[in-house]
């Protein structure tokens, strides 16, 4: 741990990170585009029409990755918030701040695609099913995070306040994930898990995974871009900025 932590701290300083972020963002952006194309091709062309659901099921290729990301990004966000509280590292807090919007976006996508899917399958756009509700709560948590953020004038105070909020809100993620287990609901349970063999067609699985990778690299790219912007604003006065400026 000690060994790794040293260089971790080197990149934990905005100064050394800033130069790194630019090219990384570009690389991940391109990757995201390619993966998305591949995933959509698999999902819309290669994958066969589903027996009962017809074409409608193809939403899964967007819905599931989005839903996964919505939860995953929150976990990552909470992690960085913890880091910023413990090590008092500015960059960690900024990362969390940069992650929030992407998380919100994916949550919205999961909600929208989900309810669009719900119409043909369940005959309703919305039901107060546990998973849907908890996903909606996740959206509100993202909103709350951002709202608190821009309600506080002092940036460092905002960092720490939002960090506390994010950590508290993290309890919602397991609720979302296991909601299908805890309440017998409309929503179907996890059919992909690391422990048991997947219960769906290999090709579908492949499509979903490729799309998930696309979502990942997209999130990383966007986050890095936002991070650069935030650093630009936050570290205005700092000496190293002037150095970079020249």
């Amino acid at each position: 741990m000690a060994g790794t932590s040293i260089n971790w701290f080197r990149y934990a300083s905005p100064a050394s990170f800033f130069s790194l972020a630019g090219p990384l963002a570009r690389a991940f952006g391109i990757a995201a585009a390619l993966l998305a194309l591949a995933g959509l091709w698999i999902g819309l062309v290669v994958a066969p029409t589903d027996a009962q659901q017809g074409e409608a099921y193809r939403i899964i290729f967007i819905h599931v990755p989005a839903a996964w990301m919505s939860m995953f990004i929150y976990v990552v966000m909470a992690f960085w918030c913890a880091m910023s509280l413990v090590f008092n590292a500015r960059l960690a807090a900024m990362t969390a701040q940069a992650l929030a919007p992407s998380g919100a976006v994916f949550t919205v996508i999961a909600l929208v695609t989900g309810s669009l899917w719900g119409k043909p399958t369940w005959g309703t756009y919305w039901a107060w099913d546990a998973r849907m509700t908890s996903e909606l709560i996740l959206l509100f948590l993202y909103f709350g995070f951002m709202a608190l953020r821009n309600a506080i004038d002092d940036p460092r105070r905002a960092d720490r306040a939002c960090a506390v909020l994010a950590l508290v809100g993290a309890v919602n993620v397991p609720v979302i994930y296991f909601s299908v287990k805890w309440w017998n609901t409309l929503h179907q349970g996890a059919s992909v898990s690391l422990t048991t063999a997947p219960r769906m067609a290999a090709i579908m699985l492949a499509g979903m995974l490729v799309m998930t990778l696309a979502a990942w690299s997209y999130s990383i790219a966007v986050t890095l871009v936002r991070l650069r912007a935030i650093i630009n604003e936050r570290e205005r006065g700092a000496p190293w900025r002037r150095a970079v400026a020249q």
């Binding site: 509280l85 546990a130 509700t133 908890s134 709560i137 509100f140 948590l141 909103f143 709350g144 709202a147 608190l148 309600a151 506080i152 004038d153 105070r157 720490r160 306040a161 506390v164 909020l165 950590l167 508290v168 809100g169 309890v171 919602n172 609720v175 309440w183």
Partner: protein, 238 residues
Amino acid sequence: MAPMDSAIARPAPSGGAWAGMRWALVRDLRLALRSRAELGVLLLFYVIVVALFPLGVGPDPSLLRTMGPGVLWVTALMTSMLALPRLFAGDFADGSLEQIALSPYPLPALIAGKIAAHWASTGLPLAAASPWLGVQFGLSTGELEVLALGLLMGTPTLSLLGAIGAALTLGVRGSGALVSLLVLPLCVPVLIFGAGAVDAVRDAVSTNAHFSWLGAMLLASAVGAPLATAAAVRIALD
């Protein structure tokens, strides 16, 4: 002045946490009773709520029965929301919060005391009144028991979670609605299990699951919330 000329450096008071918690609890309860206004308003509020629904829904008993628990639970949620701003804002404005943060007692303990007082003036009365209110909705005895028990176990969690939001929004622009935005989502699970328990009784299903969840959430928040709130308070004072 004789006592003053003794040593000016005192040891930290003994029996830290509990004494601190008691101090905050007693003091806030006393203050709450001083300004009976808010208390009365809260009580009136949920009497109105409960009185209103039968009016809105009409006398159909089966309907009333099914919605009774949900209404009472949401009312509990709203009343604790109503009182949240008062939890820290006053102390923050008049400088008491600084003194509390500087006290030799552990801050989380003091905060826990304040939360307990908040609960005693919002959740507890509702839980106590719930059997009577539930009768208005024609709940059966079994349902009433579960309802009251659920409220007793659930409302403290609401206060605990609410405290975090209240502390986070201290001295923040437009904190009024922001608190609710931060807190209400976190409270939803409590609501689900609490109301669910009563439905379970109606459907003659075991309520163990619900209560164990309520208990788990109460424990978790009882441990976590004071710490998180204390952190938030220190941040607000920084």
